[in-house]
């Protein structure tokens, strides 16, 4: 898949959340650790919400020179 190491995707974040929840489930977790786990979870959630960045995207067209331009759908009336 991705050749470069980028910020974790939603899938990785979900996996991390699973991990954190698992940690919170442990019987002998210390309160400090629990707080740390919880706040990390909250941060991950925030990242998830940012990742689903809720801005409607214009369709882009990749040009010959590798430039991106807005795609105008020639055929009207979808």
């Amino acid at each position: 898949m991705g050749e470069k190491k980028k910020t974790p995707g939603l899938e990785e974040n979900f996996a991390r959340l699973e991990e954190l929840i698992g940690k919170l489930e442990e019987e002998d977790i210390s309160l400090e650790e629990a707080f740390q786990t919880y706040s990390e979870g909250m941060a991950v959630l925030k990242r998830c919400n940012v990742q689903i960045d809720r801005v409607e995207k214009q369709v882009l067209k990749l040009g010959e020179e590798g430039q991106l331009e807005e795609f105008e759908d020639g055929s009207e009336g979808i």
Binding site: E3, G9, L10, E27, M42, I52, R54, G66, L68, F71
Partner: protein, 384 residues
């Protein structure tokens, strides 16, 4: 008779398609004609895999099948098993050869298939800039998740330049780093779809680091890249469905994670509180105040016990004393007098216990219960 004829059971007839009807049952009825004559043909729904294009009027085809009599009409007809476009015989062979070759190279192997990520942010599309395919993909992607960035590489999808254009498009989108790409086009004749049977296109799709969903033509069309792609969609619309997870589903998942996280945190805190209460109780038990109280209690109980013991001893002694008093009473000389005995003494107050102690004529005192008697000894007599 027909059915026993070996030749009629497996033959190929060349001709032009006319009166072609796709019946809703899936069967296809058509007539095959050439300069000299016609024959009615039927391809049953169950044999449809023998047809890889959409038949239309006027096409030159080769039909392979069985000739038999249709008893109701008393006419013989051709039951088609496979149909090829004539002139495409060569194309078809080429397709089969390439398919075999790539399969042998392992390019269709399941182990090379990359999973399609469930959450994508950018979707690349390699297809024609105009036409139903691109519109279908955009419409469905937008409907499912308008926040996904669709990036189109406007490719030439048919004709001589198509294969090179598609290769370029896949490479360009791969270099751009989209999360998933859809490569395809709408339906068409076998020639129209030919670029998707190209060796180079297949190689690029196979090597592409971005997961590729192929989406060529209609459901019945299968091209080489369908075998090579990480996932095959029957149509461009279906490809968009497969590529883009509904955003509501994702948001729901995020919300669920949040809920779970909060719930578990609360549970941890509740557990800690419980532990604290427990420890508090334990601590109270060992605190100095607690100890002091405990000591006091011990002193009090000890005192009570001592007192009780003491009382018991006193009582016992008192009881004993009473018994003694009773006994003493029994022994008192006055008591004896009470019982009818009397006490005799001489003039000096000595108790007279023997006849030897008195002389005749001596005065003696006799004590009885209620007084004293003064008497004189008149006579004495020894019992021995």
């Amino acid at each position: 008779m027909f059915a026993q004829d070996y030749l009629l059971r497996s033959l190929y007839i060349k001709g032009e398609v006319s009166n072609c009807k796709y019946h809703s049952s899936g069967h296809i009825y058509f007539t095959l004609k050439d300069a000299k004559g016609t024959i009615n043909c039927v391809m049953f729904a169950g044999s449809r895999k023998g047809l890889s294009f959409r038949m239309s009027e006027g096409q030159q085809v080769i039909v392979g099948g069985t000739v038999d009599v249709y008893e109701r009409d008393g006419k013989y007809q051709l039951y088609a098993r496979e149909i090829f476009l004539d002139g495409n015989g060569q194309l078809y062979e080429e397709y089969e050869r390439l398919k075999r070759e790539l399969r042998e190279q392992g390019m269709f192997a399941q182990e090379y298939k990359q999973p399609i990520p469930r959450y994508i942010r950018t979707l690349g599309v390699v297809t024609a800039e105009t036409g139903a395919a691109v519109r279908d993909v955009i419409r469905i992607a937008n409907r499912r998740n308008p926040y996904v960035q669709v990036i189109l590489y406007p490719a030439i999808v048919q004709g001589d330049a198509a294969a090179a254009s598609i290769v370029k498009g896949i490479r360009a989108l791969e270099a751009l780093g989209v999360d998933v790409m859809i490569v395809g086009r709408g339906g068409g004749s076998i020639e129209d779809l030919w670029a998707f049977n190209d060796r180079e296109v297949a190689r690029v799709v196979f090597a592409c680091k971005v997961p590729v969903i192929s989406a060529v033509g209609h459901e019945t069309d299968t091209t080489i890249i369908d075998y090579v792609a990480d996932l095959r969609a029957s149509t461009p619309s279906a490809a968009a469905e497969l590529a883009v997870t509904d955003v509501r589903e994702i948001l729901g998942e995020v919300a669920a994670y949040q809920d779970t996280l909060e719930q578990f945190m609360e549970r941890v805190i509740e557990r800690k509180r419980e532990q604290m209460r427990h420890l508090e109780l334990g601590l109270k038990a060992v605190s100095p105040a607690g100890r002091l109280r405990e000591r006091k209690m011990m002193v009090i109980t000890a005192e009570e016990r001592i007192r009780e013991r003491m009382n018991r001893v006193l009582q016992a002694k008192r009881h004993e004393l009473a018994i003694y008093i009773e006994k003493m009473k029994g022994l008192s000389p006055l008591e004896k007098l009470n019982q009818g005995y009397s006490y005799v003494e001489d003039g000096d107050g000595n108790n007279i216990r023997s006849v030897e102690q008195v002389k005749v004529g001596q005065s003696i005192g006799i004590r009885v219960k209620d007084g004293q008697i003064q008497a004189t000894v008149e006579k004495k007599k020894s019992l021995r």
